[in-house]
């Protein structure tokens, strides 16, 4: 009985120590690394039309600019809109290049509230730029 008691305590303490160290070191998983830092020198700009966003179909525009101010052409731009609440299906869209460096798509806000849009741009040189944009959608 006593041995078992000690064993349980040790187990719990180990688990606690483990979770504490995980929290403190803030170790990050693969999909979470480099989340908000765009690739070298590329500036990412995200706008919506209408602004502020209303529930329903809208336009989303992503503008990519290189460090020298030139538009970044030929990228593949994917958008993923998540709500801040668990259990909400994200909204996905691929933006097409309309003018040099300007990528546009229809984007449907399915509910009012707080949204986080993750824009992932796969550049022609094989690198990837990713950035998150927060916005509030109203009715």
């Amino acid at each position: 009985m006593l041995a078992r008691k000690t064993a349980t305590r040790t187990l719990i303490l180990t688990l606690l120590a483990l979770s504490l160290s995980l929290a403190l070191t803030g170790c990050q998983r693969a999909s979470q690394q480099g989340n908000s830092a765009p690739a070298s020198g590329v500036t990412m700009d995200f706008t919506i039309d209408p602004d502020p966003a209303l529930v329903g179909q809208t336009q989303a525009i992503v503008t990519l600019t290189a460090a020298d101010g030139q538009p970044v052409t030929g990228a593949t731009v994917a958008l993923k809109g998540d709500m801040s609440h668990a259990g909400m299906q994200p909204v996905l869209a691929d933006a097409a290049e309309q003018d040099p460096g300007v990528y546009r798509t229809e984007f449907t806000w399915t509910m009012a509230g707080d949204w986080i849009v993750t824009v992932t741009a796969s550049l022609a040189d094989g690198t990837t730029a990713e950035q998150q944009f927060d916005l509030s959608v109203t009715r």
């Binding site: 349980t8 995980l22 668990a86 259990g87 707080d114 009715r139």
Partner: protein
């Protein structure tokens, strides 16, 4: 054991889950609870891990999705269809099962705290933290909440001789206890005579090998699911194999004066019901307008203060005033005893409606997002180099019901809950008064209260849900 008079026996329960071939044996087996606890403990560990290290977006993290979508949806379903299955499988009490009794000679829980006041406080407190810190939007905080449960349950289990955490503290337990009073299954004795001649009363006292009831319920006297965590220790401890987990008449516990007529128990039922309204109110546009208006009037932008005000009224002031007010009016109209007794008599009538509102809200989230757990799991696996569930998460999975089905579900749930509450109310009033006119008068204030709560609930569910909070996570 010989029996002499068959006519004195209560008939053996028509349906007893503990006699179902296979399952019954498993449930009564010494390590039976572990079979349910262990998987949940593993799931909880994964949730904590993902909550602390995984995606910071709530819809992409196992901690938030499994807690706020699946746990809540499934727990109310289990309560409706069977009973307090979550407490039965509760991973937080695992140490008790493993070590059998950590502190067999531990202290007794203080007498002054042997009531529901602390549980009510912690229940309201958790719901408040949920609003103030947008727990639904934070995997990190959700993970720490789970850790806090493990620590608290363990500490109280180790320090005290009984299981005070479940009975007197745990907010999940408080919710489940009230919810389980509408459940179809209840612990009872198979044969009352066997209990009468039973010497050891092992079901509550325990024996050398097996624990007795941790929340100190005595099987032959159980008429209510309040405080029963369905651990089935009683069934394991009974040397006469006389414990049943039996089907009972729907709503019978609520109409049969099965609860003690105590302030704390009655107010727990009322807080449970008003909290169902308040928790849903926290997600619709008027709450944001109210917050803004209050911020203007009070000249403060301290959100915690504003939320404390709003939810203090909704979770504490409103249920106390409504309950005591209705009891006072009811006594004025039909005469009778003390307010406490009248309140205690009628309080069970609000439970079906309150449960229905919780059910409607939790199922809104479950039915609209149950499948989102699949891409979240896929992405979790992929991040850990396991391609078991495919190499790309399918983020297009989400709802299990169409959007207009959701609204019908909410409406239907509130309607059924309201009718059930009405039936309970009538039965209680008829039981209390011989004269049917008096019964009508006594139940009128409670009827008004039920109508009011039901109308508010339907209004809330017709408003569009909004999901806000933790913009920057």
């Amino acid at each position: 054991m010989t029996r002499t008079s068959a006519s004195l026996h209560r008939p053996a329960p028509a349906f007893d889950l503990l006699r179902v071939p296979g399952l019954g044996r498993l449930l009564r087996w010494r390590w039976g609870r572990l079979v349910f606890q262990a998987p949940l403990a593993v799931i909880a560990a994964v949730m904590i891990y993902d909550g602390l290290t995984g995606p910071k977006l709530a819809p992409q993290n196992l901690a938030t999705v499994a807690t706020w979508v699946h746990y809540r949806g499934l727990v109310v379903l289990a309560l409706l269809l069977a009973g307090n299955l979550f407490c039965m499988s509760c991973p937080f009490t695992l140490p008790r099962t493993l070590a059998q009794r950590l502190a067999r000679h531990g202290r007794r829980w203080p007498r002054a705290l042997r009531n529901k006041w602390l549980a009510i406080t912690l229940f309201v407190g958790l719901l408040f933290l949920y609003e103030a810190f947008d727990l639904w939007a934070s995997p990190w905080l959700t993970a720490w909440l789970i850790v806090a449960y493990f620590v608290a349950a363990f500490v109280f289990e180790a320090l005290f001789a009984e299981s005070p955490f479940c009975k007197y503290l745990c907010p999940i337990g408080a919710f489940n206890f009230v919810g389980s009073t509408i459940s179809p299954l209840q612990i009872t004795s198979r044969d009352a005579d066997v209990c009468r001649s039973c010497v050891g009363k092992e079901c509550v006292n325990g024996s050398a090998q097996v624990l007795g009831c941790g929340t100190e319920l005595f099987v032959p006297q159980i008429r209510s699911n309040l405080d029963c965590v369905l651990c089935l220790d009683c069934a394991r401890a009974c040397p006469h194999d006389n414990v049943a987990l039996a089907a009972r008449k729907p709503l019978s516990e609520l109409t049969n004066a099965a609860w003690p007529r105590r302030w704390d128990v009655a107010l727990l039922a009322l807080v449970f019901t008003f909290a169902a309204l308040g928790n849903a109110f926290g997600m619709v546009p008027p709450v944001y307008e109210l917050e803004a208006a209050l911020a203007g009037w009070l000249g403060t932008d301290n959100e915690v203060l504003i939320l404390a005000l709003i939810f203090g009224v909704l979770y504490v002031l409103a249920p106390v005033l409504a309950g005591v007010g209705a009891a006072w009016l009811s006594r004025g109209l039909a005469g009778g005893e003390r307010i406490r007794v009248v309140l205690g008599r009628y309080a069970p009538a609000v439970v079906p409606l309150g449960f229905a509102i919780w059910f409607a809200h939790y199922w809104f989230h479950f039915a609209s997002g149950a499948l989102t757990i699949i891409p979240v799991l896929q992405s979790f696996m992929i991040d850990h180099g396991v391609a078991l569930l495919g190499s790309a998460p399918n983020w297009r999975l989400g709802a299990i019901l169409p959007a207009n089905g959701l609204f019908l579900l909410e409406l239907g749930s509130v309607l059924i809950g309201f009718l059930a509450s009405l039936a309970v109310l009538r039965q209680i009033a008829d039981n209390a008064h011989n004269d049917s006119r008096m019964a009508r008068r006594a139940m009128t204030p409670w009827l008004v209260l039920l109508v009011l709560v039901a109308v508010l609930a339907v209004t809330l569910f017709t408003l569009p849900m909004e999901m806000r909070g933790m913009m920057t996570g």
